[in-house]
């Protein structure tokens, strides 16, 4: 599989296992892909295919135990060209990456916000951390050498006593500081299209609609100007009219800030509008990865084909949707085979015996299907499936 070298984030041979009473579940199974700067990569798949676990692994958020990183590496390229290995880095390094270089927004914005704090307070913490010099500068401080207390106040770390003393000893500074914090938060909220951000500052999460909460989450995630934004089904919990607006907002923010986006979704129809490339996952493995226009127009993996055909379209005669028969296989101690073989109408005996590898079949378009093991042509018909014998030979050599 061909990979160029200007990547921002490289996931290489990643496997994530989960221990359970029934055995070891291979949630992510030898997955490799790159994310390039400024691009949007969509990670698509059905429930339990491992897309969310993959995304969480990038921030090392998989709970250990029961989870464990069984193999592979995740590398993040820094501004100076050096590379940080996320899976082996210290907890401290990972935490600084989480806040600074990679942010994440979640499916349920309601759960990601603290119900007991006003939006203003929650965002002030994040902004105090990441926009320190700007906030200090706007408040009339010298951002180069700020006083210790001022720094602590901006970071929302100052205690009640410390703040009280500061208020008594400094004349206008505390007010200016607070105003500067509020202004930067309000500006960020206004950027996400929230009307009347001043009112939002004093609101609690439960007072906001789902779409509004997601906007707040986006403002928070972008506070640090991340190089990579991971959006984990950001609109699944929202209504369709709001979904379009949120996705437009994310897209617009990307244009403005130039970050890369890893967009996790189960909905292939969103991919076309919002992603440059798409990676399709099935049962913990990558089935296909390539430019979204190309993959959607001529999907090569039978699973991608099935997934696309299953979406109801106006032209489909009623009741004749191309459903994929059967269900997703168990991920517990899976046998070495193509996981899709049991549901695949093209499956040959080789598919039940050998795990297919990801093969490049066109420019930046990789597929893991045995049909391409010997043939390098794109238009392969079912008859071209390699026979079990020849495949076995390839595997053993």
């Amino acid at each position: 599989m061909a990979r160029s070298d200007d990547w921002l984030l490289r996931v290489d041979d990643l496997s994530v296992h989960f221990e359970s009473s029934k055995g070891v579940a291979h949630a992510v199974d030898h997955v490799s892909f790159d994310i390039y700067p400024h691009e949007t990569l969509a990670l698509v798949g059905e429930t339990g295919c491992g897309k969310s676990v993959t995304a969480r692994s990038i921030l090392r958020l998989v709970p250990e135990p029961p989870g464990s990183y069984a193999s592979g590496s995740i590398s993040l390229r820094n501004g100076d060209g050096s590379v940080t290995e996320i899976l082996t880095a210290t907890e401290r390094t990972v935490r600084s990456i989480r806040g600074d270089r990679i942010s994440m927004i979640f499916q349920d914005p309601g759960k990601a916000l603290n119900p007991g704090l006003t939006i203003g307070r929650q965002l002030a913490e994040v902004f105090g951390e990441h926009r320190m010099s700007m906030i200090l500068g706007n408040a009339g401080f010298d951002p180069e050498k700020p006083s210790r207390t001022a720094t602590k106040i901006v970071q929302q770390r100052a205690g009640l006593l410390e703040r009280g003393v500061y208020r008594l000893t400094h004349l206008r500074a505390p007010k200016a500081l607070q105003k500067s914090i509020d202004d930067s938060v309000m500006q960020a909220l206004a950027d996400t299209g929230i009307p009347n951000p001043r009112k939002i500052l004093g609101s609690y999460p439960h007072e906001l609609s789902g779409g509004m909460k997601q906007r707040v989450m986006i403002a928070q995630a972008l506070a640090c100007d991340p190089d990579l934004l991971i959006a984990d089904e950001p609109t699944t919990a929202l209504d369709v009219t709001i979904q379009a607006r949120i996705l437009d907002l994310i897209h617009e923010m990307q244009q403005r800030r130039g970050m890369a986006i890893l967009y996790i979704t189960h909905d292939l129809s969103l991919v076309r509008q919002f992603a440059d490339r798409v990676a399709v996952m099935y049962a913990g493995r990558l089935a296909e990865i390539g430019p979204s226009a190309g993959v959607l127009a001529s999907p090569q993996h039978p699973y991608t084909q099935g997934l696309l055909a299953a979406i109801p379209r106006p032209a489909t005669p009623r009741g004749q949707l191309a459903a994929i028969p059967g269900t997703v296989p168990q991920l517990i101690d899976p046998p070495p085979q193509c996981h899709f073989a049991s549901r695949c109408s093209f499956a040959a005996s080789a598919c039940h015996q050998v795990t297919p590898q990801l093969l490049t079949i066109a420019d930046k378009h990789d597929v893991s299907c045995h049909r391409f093991d010997t043939a390098s042509r794109i238009d392969v018909s079912p008859q071209d499936m390699p026979s079990a014998a020849t495949l076995g030979g390839v595997a053993s050599s």
Binding site: N196, P312, R313, P314
Partner: protein
Amino acid sequence: MTLLSGSLAADFGGTTDAVVALHGVKVHYPVKEGVLQRVTGQVRAVDGVDLSGPRGQTLGLVGESGCGKTTLGRVIAGLVAPTGGDIWVDVDATQHSEIERLRGVATEDRSPEDQASWKSLESNHRLGSMSRDKQSRYRRNCQVVFQDAFSSLNPRQLVRDIVGRPLRVHKEASGEDLDRRVIELLERVGLDSQHLLRFPHQFSGGQRQRISIARALALNPEFVILDEPTSALDVSVQAQILNLLVDLQKDLGLTYLFITHDLGVVQHMSDRIAVMYLGQIAEYGPTADVFNSPLHPYSRILRDSNPTLEDSLDTVKWDLSGTVPNPVNPPQGCRLHPRCPVARAECGWSIDDVLTDAERNTPVVFETISRVERKSDFRATVSFSEPEQAKKFAKRIGSLAAHEALEQPIRLDDKLVEVSFNEVSEAQLQQLKDGRWSSCTRTQNLGALPEL
């Protein structure tokens, strides 16, 4: 353009009768506040809906969360009692036009024959007035498949008990006969006898939904309400379930009410669709027509927001602004107008609209409002603490579409602003073309959807 007469519930789309027809159905929930639980308002979950389920067809009911579609489904299923309106069961076209005619006549003006005819209709077809026997026959005849296949099956019962329960309740089968019928039902939905003695948690989402469908079919109903039956499922499994539902409809001649928020699915499944917004039907018509040439801005917005794999991306997309208004106090006139991209003067502006606008878009002005003295929903005097802000407020109204709806020009008197709008009655669903209904006032006037 003249409007065609008649009620939407009378529209049978070529078939002769309806399994159920709704007339002005309302579901209002009281809002209680304080220690004494005083009723301070009504949540209008469903607010005056006319609809009919044409026999043998699929009626799609679409709308976003909170529009009342699920509540409406539950009213038809008998799970929620309506607080207003009538539900008619099993009415043919003649009976329907008779009901239509009699509804137009006030009770005291009805002739003795009319009264007798109304009485017989009521006692034979109206839910709530007909005999217990007929009522329970309707209940048997109308079954539901729920959205969440994970919570719609009792986790402590075996599949046999879940699917066989309706048969047992209605004493249709027991013992060996029951097991045999349950196996038949399971085979009908693509499962088999090996699944008989399992608990729901041993199944995948798609299989659970099949069990749910088997249960709904146990009593051989004519009418099945499908309440978001596939929205919790993955797309490949959704396709299996949708195909199964279509097959069952063909084989058993079922009538479906398909409730969903997914436009792609409803387009695939329905013969006709009704688009709901804030407790009311915004548009109703044959599915293809509604999708190709919507007659209500809201249908157009829904269609445009729905991501698809096919449409060209460069067409102008309509967009909804703001958030869903509070169903306790819905907007006057057309309920969509404060968020509508093509709203104009005639759409029903009121005091609440300009206040909401001020709160959202000119918060500084809004904060200086000291008092709002309302004479009606359409007339009020707003006092400000600063004359400057009063001027800004008046200017803002002048720049809105709303200012054309003013009954008289805004009177600005130092800190006071007097606003008075034309009174507008609630937008009504009306037939614009054959079989196509819309509640958009502008579309009704223009005969076509307004341009953006």
